[in-house]
Symmetry: none
Subunit: 195 residues, 4 copies
DNA sequence: AATGAATGAGCCTTCATTCAT
DNA sequence: GATGAATGAAGGCTCATTCAT
């Protein structure tokens, strides 16, 4: 059972590496095959087709992030802690899964257009609603500023996301964790109610 | 002379439309040709190859945005006006060039990997430095908070960018201009010095 | 296993036929495909690209000729036998492989310009040196006339080669074997020492 | 009138150079245009189409050679002088028109397959007959050995031709004129009657 | 589960040629 | 005679996918 799992994992590893080096559409099945030593047939056996590999990586990757995020929120005890935890979790996840993060950034558009695009957008909405549910009490208590609902995501995680994009692409050099506190502060300053 | 310009513009229009509908790599030259009525040869005559079309759109598009941004900064009279102008300009540009913006979001990675990737990154850095130069005086006077330099872009325009991404992709519905003030406020709250 | 070999051979057969009918550069992959019933992909699977087919035919074809020539020389017992064997072997090879010979005549320039051109010229030089080595003893014994080394090939096989070219192209009608003795005599008269 | 001639000649010069560097079929009209500074339209005005350029070069080139050859034969006073003059003329022409010679070697097959192929082969035959006519008297007087008619060309000029091919392609280094006497001797030894 | 040869649709690009100026 | 933009057919090649072993 170890071996089988390894083979499947090998394919995924190779796929991510290829996708990030050359781009998803520019990566051929044969390139993945050459990188992991599997056969073409084996790849198709495990993932059905190229989109299957992308979907697998994307879904599992995002899911892992959402779990981590929800866990962090569940552990937070106040609005400020929660908001800052969102930023911290985001950065933490990116830094611990840089390849996966890079992949997900470029895959989003593609996946949305793909066969399971609808389903994934639903998933995303559901997850996002769950997060909003955490915040509602604090919103009602006035610990968070009243803003258009659609804005919270952008205000809280937007800057971290933009910075991480820049870092992953090499445009920015400072490792995100060194900026985590500043980004968390800014997030709180953006959505928190001073009193 | 009108005709020639039109022909070239027609190709660009068709290209952007195709790129946004199907994705850049999934768009074939033939699809562009069919959409604008030009011949294959004509497209190659004007742009050399597919990458040439992408590069043309990307470079001119971004340039236009940077011009607009620098003009807005030049007209700003204080740190707060400037910061808020950056957000407003960004939103304004996206809303007035939604197709171009959509295209640029998806093209960035591709273009960076491409032939002229190096040159474009240099350009970008230069433009960004120019913007930073505007802010330096206010930084020194203490009108802006002291933060790691690499962070300002993400803090000021990050949320607007994230929101616009969501809006352009259909994930968010509210037109960005309706949120412009909130986003501008948040930007100032993130980087402005209260005193 | 028989089938595979056949498939590859079929492609080569079709390729030679097309090359000789229309010229190498004027032959499209599709023409070869249509003639042998293979798929485009299969051709590329076996030979990589069009140049690969040409190279395969050229290398194997020439190699076969050099083997035959060296064998004939090894069996020759005197200078005269050897010189005449060279002419006879040449004619024999052309007559038994007319299509291959026709192809090689037109391919030489192309192949030399190609990727493996360097390697092939080296090969050729090596083979030619080996032939010269056979003759050296007789040269030293004075059974062969002392002439510039670069001249022997042209003097011995040149006329046969020119005639075969003419025959293969239809300019000359008499089958080369009927002229073999005359050509062999001439060769000996050109390089042999009367005493 | 000087200018016009120059322009046409420029095109021809550029064409020969391109043809010899890259091969005739691999040379595009645009490559010729780029090399001589003419416009595409101008080339078509002068030569009709690509084949027209090739034909012009080929016909004029060969014609020039035949004139020189016939003149040399007319001046020869005996069989031996005539045979040796053929070799000398051939070498002389190649050495004075190396680019043209290189071109003609590669163009022959192409031209024969082309539109005017028939006409050119007729021309060639006619010229060849004329040469044979010169030799007939000496053949009848027994100054030349009786051999199959189709063989004389190959025996007399074959070695020189083979050597020149090798020299033009870089395979052989010694300039043909240094070997002219040896080649002429060999030719006479091949077809001349010792008594 | 794994293998890799075979398939063929489709893509980017080139290039000879035309023609209005 | 000269120019060069425009045309579109055709070619080499890639690649996702299938399937017999």
């Amino acid at each position: 059972m170890n071996e089988k799992t390894d083979r499947k994992q090998d394919i995924l590893q190779a796929a991510i590496a290829c996708f990030n080096e050359a781009g998803i559409e520019a990566t051929s099945i044969d390139a993945i095959r050459a990188r992991c030593g599997a056969s073409v047939g084996s790849i198709y056996h495990h993932f059905g087709n190229k989109e299957g590999i992308v979907a697998h990586l994307f879904i599992n990757g995002l899911d892992q992030y959402w779990q981590q995020l929800l866990a962090a929120l569940a552990a937070a005890e106040g609005a400020e802690t929660a908001v800052k935890a969102m930023v911290a979790t985001y950065i933490d996840w990116v830094v611990h899964n840089p390849e996966l993060a890079r992949f997900i950034f470029q895959a989003r558009t593609l996946v949305n257009r793909g066969e399971q695009g609808q389903r994934l957008q639903q998933n995303n909405k559901a997850n996002y609603s769950q997060v909003l549910a955490y915040f509602r009490p604090w919103l009602e208590k006035g610990e968070l500023r009243q803003l258009p609902l659609e804005l919270y995501a952008a205000l809280i995680v937007g800057p971290a996301q933009e910075y991480c994009r820049a870092w992953l692409s090499g445009r920015a050099k400072t490792p995100p964790p060194q900026l985590a506190d500043d980004l968390a502060d800014a997030a709180w300053r953006a959505v928190g109610n001073p009193r």
